[in-house]
């Protein structure tokens, strides 16, 4: 389909000006004919590849680009245009969802650095699995007894463990760099861990708020 190849910086196929985001030309408004899969998620937004993403800036760029490429705006004239708008906005939506969440952002950076995938390495730090099993039993017991106070305290406990894991993830991403296999291994484990904590949080029934 696309015969153009990727250049640096990306040039608009219409007006040949360098593009801020390869999704859509800020100058002439043309949509890029290249599939979004040819670019990193950071490139799609025209932002620096780093863990420290400014959420407000990301959101502003996301909304601005959506205004130009959403099928309601950009896909009305022909089937070809609509296909392009669908491809671009679904690519942009995925990139946005990945980058705005600190966990999926770390996962994306780890994958980019060539680190282990969740399928490659399923390990978690230290004694965590035993703790998870214990907490799961406590949740079941408290839910059976409809013990709102106990559920609340378990929730607080799991939330603090979740936050600890997130703090570690942030620290590793800020550290010496994800090229280091030891850093990759630790990040993998913490990302696996946070999945367990999230699952546990989902299992805690929310008592009816008063």
């Amino acid at each position: 389909m696309a015969t153009e190849t990727k250049t640096h910086p990306v040039l608009c196929t219409q007006c040949r000006q360098p593009m801020d985001s390869p999704v859509c030309c800020a100058g002439c408004g043309a949509l890029n004919a290249l599939p979004p899969s040819m670019f990193t998620y950071f490139e799609l937004f025209g932002i620096e590849q780093t863990y420290d993403v400014d959420p407000d800036e990301l959101r502003r760029k996301y909304l601005d680009l959506s205004r130009s490429i959403h099928p309601d705006v950009a896909g009305r004239n022909s089937d070809q245009e609509r296909k392009q708008a669908l491809a671009l906005s679904s690519g942009l939506n995925r990139a946005y969802d990945t980058l705005r969440n600190p966990v999926s952002r770390a996962e994306y950076l780890l994958q980019f650095a060539g680190g282990p995938s969740p399928a490659d390495d399923k390990t978690v730090p230290g004694e965590m699995l035993a703790e998870v099993m214990m907490l799961r039993e406590e949740i079941d017991e408290a839910a059976r007894a409809s013990d709102a106070a106990a559920l609340k305290s378990i929730k607080a406990d799991v939330t603090s463990r979740h936050d600890e894991a997130l703090a570690r993830i942030t620290a590793i991403c800020h550290g010496a760099g994800l090229a280091d296999p030891a850093a990759q291994k630790e990040l993998r484990q913490q990302l696996n861990a946070i999945k367990y904590w999230n699952n546990l949080l989902d299992q805690i029934p929310t008592p009816v708020e008063t």
Partner: protein, 655 residues
Amino acid sequence: MDSSQTGNMSEIIIGIDLGTTHSLVAYCDQAGPHIIRDQNGEGRLPSVLRFEPDGTVVVGWEARTHAVEQPRSTVFSIKRLMGRGYDELVAAGALEHLPYPVVKRGSETPGRDIAAVDVGEKLLTPPEISALILRELRERASRQFGREVRKAVITVPAYFDDAQRQATRDAGQIAGLEVLRIVNEPTAAALAYGLGVRGQLRARAVERPPGAGTTTDGSAPARGRAGSPQTPDPGAGDDDSLIAVYDLGGGTFDVSILRLCGGVFEVLSTHGNTRLGGDDLDREIVTLIYNEIEREFGINIDSPATQQGIRSLAENVKIRLTPAESAAVEVDLGRGRVYRRTIARAEFERLIAHWIDKTLTSCRQALRDAKVAAGDIRQVVLVGGCTRIPYVRRRVEELFKRAPYTALNPDEVVALGAAVQAGILAGLEKDALLLDVIPLSLGIETMGGAMGKLILRNTRIPCQATERFSTFVDGQTNVKINVLQGERELAKDCRSLGEFELRGLPPMPAGIPKILVTFLVDENGILNVSAIEERSRKATSIQIAPTHGLTPEEVRRMELESYEHAREDMTAHRLIDLRNQIAFDTAKAEQMLAKVGDELDPPYRTEIEQAMRELRRLGETSMDPDAMHRALNAFDRKAVQLAERAIVSTLRAEP
């Protein structure tokens, strides 16, 4: 660019709220969205149809008014059957309360399950019946604009799955409408609400003269909420705020959490129940009355007419209990037996509490999914007639800890929002943009009958996921994929959207072909599947057998049939009109002949008398409207001399 949508430059796009109990149609121009009303100023069209034995269909108020007398031929709440299979509906007990007959439509494809309504001479699927409602609305719009309307935006409950959305789009096509967009009802409501507030802010900014002490900002013409008695919440107009839309309709419930910022309406999450609505609240009263009649008189209500009567009564009680503290009920059971009873508002509230509890559970889930607290919500917009019930308002207020926004007419706000979306598509609303989500996870059946999720619920749309498939046996040329929608772990507990069959794979050893399948959910929340074989980069043909829906061929056939039908109807109408005209013109000629016949030249008199007899005979026997039209014209020309003589005679007689 500046051409109004109602001008001749661009094609009109209407916005339609296809509701369980009522449907509305609206359009958008530079001044904003407007409801298109009937001659009586009523915007709502009851989603009720009566099928007469002679094949004619009555849609709207008349069908609704006479539902009690004709319970078996009156179809209502068809939206509850859209995109759902007969077996499913039976399993859910959804057909028990319907007085009209619903059957399973025959199909050659095993596993396919489609419900249809038996309307006498034939079976009609829910999309075909909904199409009759859409056609009525389309004609109302065409009359308003004096030309054919062919394009529409149609709203659906946010919690509608793919099959229900497809069914709605099919209904539009059968009605001769190009459905440009399917929009979620709460999102449409937010659009109408948000533009109203923004319009008001703009109007205020314009109205306030620099340096002037007092302003009249209360009288600013606010779009969508003009003349409302309620002053807007001070936080509601913030240019970046969270709102919740609570939509309790006739048959469905939705809640959506949105972030409004600079004209972008971003849905963060949505939750709901497509089997919970005003119908269910009515049924609580119906059940109460049935049980008490049985206890008191030992009578089982089994006549469809009485059932329908009690249903209407229950709906009426629900409506009366909004302003009143109690409502009196009386049912004449014949032979001097009369059931009498007063239902207090508190009692009604106890009866419906468990339903409202369910809606609040959905609200809490939506808040969780949006990762916001109830207290972060700046405004709660109410949609649907049932949100007029004081108990519903009270419970919603308790949850969100703020009084809901009630200035918008909850019956009209969705149609107005649909018209705004039509305006966006027509380029009239350049500021606004909707970013919506998929309400239910999408996936495929994996080995062992599990649901393998590919796209999670509340993912922004458009979105896509890809999955690789291969073959299990040597030389296999077909691969079947069962596509599912739902949140449950097992495939059997989710809804099957259809079997997608990849065909024509080159025969290779097992596991060698690599087929990349792309699942794309478009801006309408509708799934599109495509596949390529990665080695050959060849697109693979996909055969889709919708489990509960219609194939594109079936929809096209229905569209054609309904078009033919419309032509027949038109011919019938024309014949009746022409016959009336012939009867009128010949009777008039006869009168004139009696008065002035003696004054005419004898040959002319003979000629006109003969022409009159021939035309009469033609009017009574002919089925050819064109021949009748020609004959009528010829006769009228011939009769000019007669008419002139008659006028002269009248003038003579007058002084």
